[in-house]
Protein backbone atom coordinates (compact mmCIF):
# COMPACT_ATOMS: atom_id res chain seq x y z
CA UNK A 1 0.00 0.00 0.00
CA UNK A 2 1.64 3.21 -1.13
CA UNK A 3 -1.35 5.41 -1.84
CA UNK A 4 0.07 8.46 -0.09
CA UNK A 5 3.50 8.17 -1.72
CA UNK A 6 1.88 7.73 -5.14
CA UNK A 7 -0.23 10.80 -4.60
CA UNK A 8 2.82 12.87 -3.69
CA UNK A 9 4.58 11.58 -6.80
CA UNK A 10 1.75 12.53 -9.04
CA UNK A 11 1.65 16.00 -7.54
CA UNK A 12 5.34 16.38 -8.19
CA UNK A 13 4.83 15.32 -11.79
CA UNK A 14 2.01 17.83 -12.25
CA UNK A 15 4.08 20.55 -10.70
CA UNK A 16 7.03 19.75 -12.93
CA UNK A 17 4.81 19.64 -16.00
CA UNK A 18 3.18 22.95 -15.18
CA UNK A 19 6.52 24.58 -14.57
CA UNK A 20 7.79 23.31 -17.88
CA UNK A 21 4.75 24.67 -19.71
CA UNK A 22 5.10 28.03 -18.01
CA UNK A 23 8.77 28.17 -18.83
CA UNK A 24 8.16 27.28 -22.46
CA UNK A 25 5.30 29.74 -22.74
CA UNK A 26 7.36 32.55 -21.31
CA UNK A 27 10.24 31.70 -23.54
CA UNK A 28 8.03 31.65 -26.61
CA UNK A 29 6.47 34.98 -25.73
CA UNK A 30 9.88 36.48 -25.32
CA UNK A 31 10.99 35.13 -28.68
CA UNK A 32 8.09 36.90 -30.41
CA UNK A 33 8.95 40.32 -29.09
CA UNK A 34 10.63 41.94 -32.04
CA UNK A 35 11.61 45.38 -33.16
CA UNK A 36 9.07 47.23 -35.20
CA UNK A 37 8.86 50.63 -36.79
CA UNK A 38 5.62 51.96 -38.26
CA UNK A 39 4.64 55.03 -40.22
CA UNK A 40 1.14 55.97 -41.27
CA UNK A 41 0.20 58.00 -44.28
CA UNK A 42 -0.62 61.59 -43.42
CA UNK A 43 -4.19 62.30 -42.42
CA UNK A 44 -5.92 62.97 -45.68
CA UNK A 45 -9.46 62.32 -46.75
CA UNK A 46 -10.51 60.70 -49.97
CA UNK A 47 -14.16 60.85 -50.95
CA UNK A 48 -16.27 58.93 -53.35
CA UNK A 49 -18.44 60.59 -55.91
CA UNK A 50 -22.04 59.94 -56.72
CA UNK A 51 -24.46 59.60 -59.59
CA UNK A 52 -27.98 60.96 -59.44
CA UNK A 53 -30.63 62.15 -61.90
CA UNK A 54 -33.44 64.60 -61.89
CA UNK A 55 -36.06 65.08 -64.59
CA UNK A 56 -38.12 68.04 -65.55
CA UNK A 57 -40.72 68.73 -68.24
CA UNK A 58 -39.53 71.91 -69.83
CA UNK A 59 -42.42 74.36 -69.68
CA UNK A 60 -44.42 71.91 -67.61
CA UNK A 61 -45.99 68.58 -68.48
CA UNK A 62 -48.59 68.75 -71.20
CA UNK A 63 -51.50 66.38 -71.67
CA UNK A 64 -51.13 64.29 -74.80
CA UNK A 65 -53.80 65.01 -77.38
CA UNK A 66 -56.06 62.17 -78.50
CA UNK A 67 -54.44 59.69 -80.84
CA UNK A 68 -55.95 58.50 -84.09
CA UNK A 69 -54.78 55.62 -86.24
CA UNK A 70 -51.55 56.42 -88.02
CA UNK A 71 -51.17 59.62 -86.07
CA UNK A 72 -48.45 60.60 -83.63
CA UNK A 73 -48.24 62.81 -80.62
CA UNK A 74 -45.08 64.30 -79.15
CA UNK A 75 -44.42 65.04 -75.54
CA UNK A 76 -42.92 68.24 -74.28
CA UNK A 77 -39.20 68.26 -73.80
CA UNK A 78 -38.09 66.09 -70.93
CA UNK A 79 -34.85 67.43 -69.48
CA UNK A 80 -32.73 64.86 -67.67
CA UNK A 81 -29.92 66.24 -65.54
CA UNK A 82 -27.19 64.48 -63.63
CA UNK A 83 -27.37 66.31 -60.33
CA UNK A 84 -24.62 64.82 -58.20
CA UNK A 85 -21.93 66.39 -60.38
CA UNK A 86 -19.50 64.53 -58.18
CA UNK A 87 -17.07 62.17 -59.76
CA UNK A 88 -13.67 63.29 -60.96
CA UNK A 89 -13.40 60.70 -63.70
CA UNK A 90 -17.09 59.88 -63.94
CA UNK A 91 -18.72 59.67 -67.32
CA UNK A 92 -22.21 58.38 -67.85
CA UNK A 93 -24.75 57.34 -70.42
CA UNK A 94 -28.49 57.69 -70.40
CA UNK A 95 -30.81 54.78 -70.83
CA UNK A 96 -34.47 55.54 -71.50
CA UNK A 97 -37.31 53.11 -71.31
CA UNK A 98 -40.86 53.93 -72.31
CA UNK A 99 -43.77 51.69 -71.61
CA UNK A 100 -47.48 51.99 -72.27
CA UNK A 101 -50.05 50.16 -70.25
CA UNK A 102 -53.75 49.74 -70.82
CA UNK A 103 -56.05 47.88 -73.18
CA UNK A 104 -54.74 48.04 -76.73
CA UNK A 105 -51.27 49.15 -75.75
CA UNK A 106 -49.94 46.74 -78.33
CA UNK A 107 -51.15 49.16 -81.03
CA UNK A 108 -49.08 51.98 -79.62
CA UNK A 109 -45.50 52.56 -80.67
CA UNK A 110 -43.16 54.87 -78.83
CA UNK A 111 -39.92 56.47 -79.94
CA UNK A 112 -37.40 58.41 -77.88
CA UNK A 113 -35.46 61.22 -79.49
CA UNK A 114 -32.52 63.10 -78.06
CA UNK A 115 -33.38 66.71 -78.60
CA UNK A 116 -36.55 67.50 -80.50
CA UNK A 117 -38.92 64.85 -81.72
CA UNK A 118 -38.36 64.03 -85.36
CA UNK A 119 -34.69 64.96 -85.18
CA UNK A 120 -31.89 62.47 -85.69
CA UNK A 121 -32.78 58.81 -85.55
CA UNK A 122 -34.52 57.84 -82.33
CA UNK A 123 -32.78 55.72 -79.78
CA UNK A 124 -33.07 52.08 -80.59
CA UNK A 125 -35.11 50.10 -78.15
CA UNK A 126 -32.95 48.91 -75.28
CA UNK A 127 -30.04 51.13 -76.23
CA UNK A 128 -28.64 54.11 -74.38
CA UNK A 129 -27.59 57.58 -75.36
CA UNK A 130 -23.83 57.76 -75.02
CA UNK A 131 -21.97 60.42 -76.92
CA UNK A 132 -18.26 59.88 -77.54
CA UNK A 133 -16.44 60.00 -74.22
CA UNK A 134 -19.67 59.80 -72.27
CA UNK A 135 -21.76 62.46 -70.61
CA UNK A 136 -20.14 64.69 -68.01
CA UNK A 137 -21.20 65.01 -64.38
CA UNK A 138 -23.85 67.68 -64.14
CA UNK A 139 -24.68 67.48 -67.83
CA UNK A 140 -28.27 67.60 -69.08
CA UNK A 141 -29.92 65.77 -71.93
CA UNK A 142 -33.20 66.81 -73.53
CA UNK A 143 -35.54 64.07 -74.64
CA UNK A 144 -38.77 63.91 -76.53
CA UNK A 145 -41.09 60.94 -76.71
CA UNK A 146 -43.26 60.37 -79.75
CA UNK A 147 -46.29 58.12 -79.42
CA UNK A 148 -47.94 56.67 -82.53
CA UNK A 149 -51.18 54.72 -82.78
CA UNK A 150 -50.97 51.95 -85.32
CA UNK A 151 -53.16 52.02 -88.43
CA UNK A 152 -54.33 48.55 -87.44
CA UNK A 153 -55.84 49.73 -84.19
CA UNK A 154 -59.41 48.39 -84.12
CA UNK A 155 -62.36 50.62 -83.58
CA UNK A 156 -62.74 49.06 -80.14
CA UNK A 157 -59.79 51.21 -79.14
CA UNK A 158 -61.87 54.30 -79.47
CA UNK A 159 -62.27 56.21 -76.25
CA UNK A 160 -59.87 54.06 -74.29
CA UNK A 161 -57.14 55.38 -72.08
CA UNK A 162 -53.52 54.37 -72.15
CA UNK A 163 -50.87 55.22 -69.60
CA UNK A 164 -47.40 55.86 -70.88
CA UNK A 165 -44.43 56.03 -68.52
CA UNK A 166 -40.90 57.07 -69.12
CA UNK A 167 -38.01 55.93 -66.96
CA UNK A 168 -34.47 57.20 -67.26
CA UNK A 169 -31.37 55.54 -65.88
CA UNK A 170 -27.86 56.95 -65.65
CA UNK A 171 -25.13 54.36 -66.01
CA UNK A 172 -21.43 54.86 -65.46
CA UNK A 173 -19.59 54.19 -68.69
CA UNK A 174 -16.36 52.28 -69.14
CA UNK A 175 -17.24 49.61 -66.60
Amino acid sequence: MSTRDGSVGRRMQWAAGTAAVLALGTGTAAAHAVWESTAALPTQGVSSGSLALSTQWVGGATALPPLYPEQSSDTATLRVTETAASGTTLRWRLRVEVSVTGAGSEYVRTEVFVGACGGPAPLAAGSAYEPAGGLLPGQSVDLCVRTTLSAEAPSAQQGTSLTPSVSVVAEQVGI
Binding site: G45, V46, G174
Partner: protein, 198 residues
Protein backbone atom coordinates in the same frame (compact mmCIF):
# COMPACT_ATOMS: atom_id res chain seq x y z
CA UNK B 1 13.22 -27.36 16.48
CA UNK B 2 13.48 -23.98 17.73
CA UNK B 3 12.88 -21.16 15.27
CA UNK B 4 14.83 -18.01 15.35
CA UNK B 5 14.14 -14.90 13.41
CA UNK B 6 16.23 -14.48 10.31
CA UNK B 7 17.63 -10.94 10.21
CA UNK B 8 17.83 -11.04 6.40
CA UNK B 9 14.15 -11.65 6.09
CA UNK B 10 11.91 -8.64 6.00
CA UNK B 11 9.67 -8.24 8.89
CA UNK B 12 6.35 -9.61 7.81
CA UNK B 13 4.51 -7.66 10.42
CA UNK B 14 2.74 -4.56 9.16
CA UNK B 15 4.57 -1.44 10.07
CA UNK B 16 2.62 1.24 11.78
CA UNK B 17 1.97 4.17 9.48
CA UNK B 18 4.50 6.94 9.96
CA UNK B 19 2.92 10.07 11.22
CA UNK B 20 4.00 13.69 10.91
CA UNK B 21 6.90 13.10 8.51
CA UNK B 22 6.76 16.67 7.26
CA UNK B 23 7.52 18.22 10.59
CA UNK B 24 10.97 16.75 11.06
CA UNK B 25 11.80 17.38 7.39
CA UNK B 26 10.98 21.07 7.63
CA UNK B 27 12.99 21.35 10.80
CA UNK B 28 15.94 19.70 9.14
CA UNK B 29 15.80 22.02 6.12
CA UNK B 30 15.54 25.06 8.35
CA UNK B 31 18.51 23.94 10.37
CA UNK B 32 20.56 23.27 7.28
CA UNK B 33 19.70 26.65 5.80
CA UNK B 34 20.65 28.39 9.02
CA UNK B 35 23.97 26.58 9.07
CA UNK B 36 24.68 27.48 5.48
CA UNK B 37 23.84 31.13 6.03
CA UNK B 38 26.09 31.22 9.01
CA UNK B 39 28.82 29.58 7.03
CA UNK B 40 28.57 32.12 4.24
CA UNK B 41 29.44 34.86 6.61
CA UNK B 42 32.17 32.93 8.24
CA UNK B 43 34.27 31.49 5.47
CA UNK B 44 36.86 33.61 3.68
CA UNK B 45 38.12 32.22 0.43
CA UNK B 46 40.53 33.09 -2.31
CA UNK B 47 39.13 34.73 -5.35
CA UNK B 48 40.43 36.16 -8.58
CA UNK B 49 38.71 37.75 -11.56
CA UNK B 50 39.65 38.85 -15.03
CA UNK B 51 37.60 41.25 -17.12
CA UNK B 52 36.95 40.70 -20.80
CA UNK B 53 39.15 42.66 -23.13
CA UNK B 54 38.05 46.24 -23.44
CA UNK B 55 35.63 46.31 -26.33
CA UNK B 56 32.12 47.52 -27.09
CA UNK B 57 29.08 45.83 -28.45
CA UNK B 58 26.59 47.98 -30.25
CA UNK B 59 22.97 47.26 -30.97
CA UNK B 60 21.54 47.58 -34.43
CA UNK B 61 18.72 49.72 -35.68
CA UNK B 62 15.38 49.29 -37.37
CA UNK B 63 13.72 52.37 -38.76
CA UNK B 64 11.21 53.45 -41.34
CA UNK B 65 10.38 56.97 -42.41
CA UNK B 66 8.14 58.26 -45.15
CA UNK B 67 8.89 61.07 -47.51
CA UNK B 68 6.36 63.20 -49.28
CA UNK B 69 4.23 61.13 -51.61
CA UNK B 70 2.53 62.10 -54.82
CA UNK B 71 -0.81 60.91 -56.12
CA UNK B 72 -2.20 60.16 -59.55
CA UNK B 73 -5.67 59.15 -60.63
CA UNK B 74 -6.80 57.06 -63.54
CA UNK B 75 -10.40 56.41 -64.36
CA UNK B 76 -11.84 53.73 -66.58
CA UNK B 77 -11.76 56.28 -69.38
CA UNK B 78 -8.92 58.62 -70.15
CA UNK B 79 -5.34 58.74 -69.01
CA UNK B 80 -3.47 59.27 -65.79
CA UNK B 81 -3.73 62.67 -64.16
CA UNK B 82 -1.65 64.11 -61.35
CA UNK B 83 -3.53 65.02 -58.22
CA UNK B 84 -2.57 68.23 -56.52
CA UNK B 85 -5.34 68.20 -53.95
CA UNK B 86 -6.56 64.77 -53.00
CA UNK B 87 -9.41 66.17 -50.93
CA UNK B 88 -10.94 67.58 -54.12
CA UNK B 89 -11.04 64.18 -55.79
CA UNK B 90 -14.28 62.20 -55.94
CA UNK B 91 -13.49 58.62 -56.77
CA UNK B 92 -15.89 56.32 -58.57
CA UNK B 93 -15.91 52.60 -59.38
CA UNK B 94 -13.00 51.58 -61.58
CA UNK B 95 -10.77 54.44 -60.44
CA UNK B 96 -7.18 53.70 -59.54
CA UNK B 97 -5.45 56.05 -57.14
CA UNK B 98 -1.70 55.59 -57.13
CA UNK B 99 0.61 56.85 -54.42
CA UNK B 100 4.28 57.13 -55.23
CA UNK B 101 5.82 57.01 -51.76
CA UNK B 102 9.50 57.55 -50.99
CA UNK B 103 10.66 55.37 -48.10
CA UNK B 104 13.81 55.40 -46.04
CA UNK B 105 14.58 52.07 -44.47
CA UNK B 106 17.20 51.46 -41.79
CA UNK B 107 18.06 47.84 -41.18
CA UNK B 108 21.26 47.62 -39.17
CA UNK B 109 22.11 44.35 -37.51
CA UNK B 110 24.31 41.44 -38.45
CA UNK B 111 21.42 39.03 -38.27
CA UNK B 112 18.56 41.46 -38.76
CA UNK B 113 15.93 40.64 -41.35
CA UNK B 114 12.68 42.58 -41.48
CA UNK B 115 9.30 42.49 -43.15
CA UNK B 116 7.89 45.60 -44.75
CA UNK B 117 4.12 45.62 -44.89
CA UNK B 118 1.29 47.90 -45.90
CA UNK B 119 -1.45 47.68 -43.30
CA UNK B 120 -5.08 48.58 -43.64
CA UNK B 121 -6.73 49.79 -40.46
CA UNK B 122 -10.04 48.53 -39.18
CA UNK B 123 -11.76 51.87 -39.64
CA UNK B 124 -10.97 51.85 -43.32
CA UNK B 125 -11.76 48.24 -44.05
CA UNK B 126 -15.03 48.40 -42.13
CA UNK B 127 -16.31 51.48 -43.88
CA UNK B 128 -18.73 51.28 -46.79
CA UNK B 129 -16.23 52.87 -49.12
CA UNK B 130 -13.22 51.03 -47.72
CA UNK B 131 -14.96 47.72 -48.36
CA UNK B 132 -14.95 48.56 -52.07
CA UNK B 133 -11.28 49.46 -52.17
CA UNK B 134 -8.36 47.19 -52.84
CA UNK B 135 -5.00 48.38 -51.53
CA UNK B 136 -1.80 46.98 -52.98
CA UNK B 137 1.83 47.66 -52.09
CA UNK B 138 4.54 47.27 -54.67
CA UNK B 139 8.27 47.78 -54.37
CA UNK B 140 10.87 47.98 -57.13
CA UNK B 141 11.60 44.58 -58.62
CA UNK B 142 15.20 44.63 -57.40
CA UNK B 143 14.26 45.58 -53.86
CA UNK B 144 13.39 42.99 -51.25
CA UNK B 145 11.52 39.76 -51.78
CA UNK B 146 7.76 39.55 -51.95
CA UNK B 147 6.58 37.12 -49.29
CA UNK B 148 2.84 37.67 -49.43
CA UNK B 149 0.16 40.20 -50.18
CA UNK B 150 1.51 43.64 -49.38
CA UNK B 151 4.55 42.15 -47.66
CA UNK B 152 8.23 42.18 -48.55
CA UNK B 153 11.21 40.72 -46.73
CA UNK B 154 14.20 43.03 -46.48
CA UNK B 155 17.75 42.64 -45.28
CA UNK B 156 20.40 45.11 -44.27
CA UNK B 157 21.37 45.24 -47.92
CA UNK B 158 18.07 47.03 -48.50
CA UNK B 159 18.87 49.82 -46.09
CA UNK B 160 18.52 53.20 -47.68
CA UNK B 161 15.96 54.95 -49.80
CA UNK B 162 13.50 53.42 -52.17
CA UNK B 163 10.14 54.23 -53.66
CA UNK B 164 7.06 52.23 -52.87
CA UNK B 165 3.91 52.30 -54.94
CA UNK B 166 0.53 51.98 -53.29
CA UNK B 167 -2.43 51.49 -55.60
CA UNK B 168 -5.97 51.90 -54.34
CA UNK B 169 -8.51 50.47 -56.73
CA UNK B 170 -12.22 51.17 -56.45
CA UNK B 171 -13.87 47.85 -57.26
CA UNK B 172 -15.20 48.26 -60.81
CA UNK B 173 -17.99 45.78 -60.09
CA UNK B 174 -19.52 47.99 -57.43
CA UNK B 175 -23.20 48.11 -58.27
CA UNK B 176 -26.05 50.52 -57.80
CA UNK B 177 -24.99 53.50 -55.78
CA UNK B 178 -23.02 51.58 -53.19
CA UNK B 179 -20.57 53.71 -51.21
CA UNK B 180 -21.47 57.01 -52.84
CA UNK B 181 -20.59 60.20 -51.00
CA UNK B 182 -18.32 58.52 -48.46
CA UNK B 183 -15.00 59.70 -47.11
CA UNK B 184 -12.12 57.67 -45.79
CA UNK B 185 -8.98 58.80 -44.00
CA UNK B 186 -5.80 57.62 -45.63
CA UNK B 187 -4.04 57.79 -42.28
CA UNK B 188 -5.62 54.39 -41.74
CA UNK B 189 -3.08 53.01 -44.19
CA UNK B 190 0.31 52.50 -42.60
CA UNK B 191 3.65 50.93 -43.36
CA UNK B 192 5.33 48.72 -40.82
CA UNK B 193 8.83 47.35 -40.74
CA UNK B 194 9.01 44.41 -38.38
CA UNK B 195 11.94 42.25 -37.38
CA UNK B 196 11.36 38.85 -38.90
CA UNK B 197 11.11 36.06 -36.39
CA UNK B 198 10.68 33.13 -38.69
Amino acid sequence: MSSTADPAMPDARPRPARQHRRGPAILAIAAGTALMLGGAGTYAYWSTSTALEATTVQSGNLGLTLGGGTWTLQGVLGGVTNIADLSAVRIVPGDVLTLTQPLTVDIVGDTLVADLRANIGADLSASALGAQLDVELDLPTDYGTATGPNEYRLTDADSGSTTATVTITFDPTTSGVTAVNQTIDLADISFSLTQASN
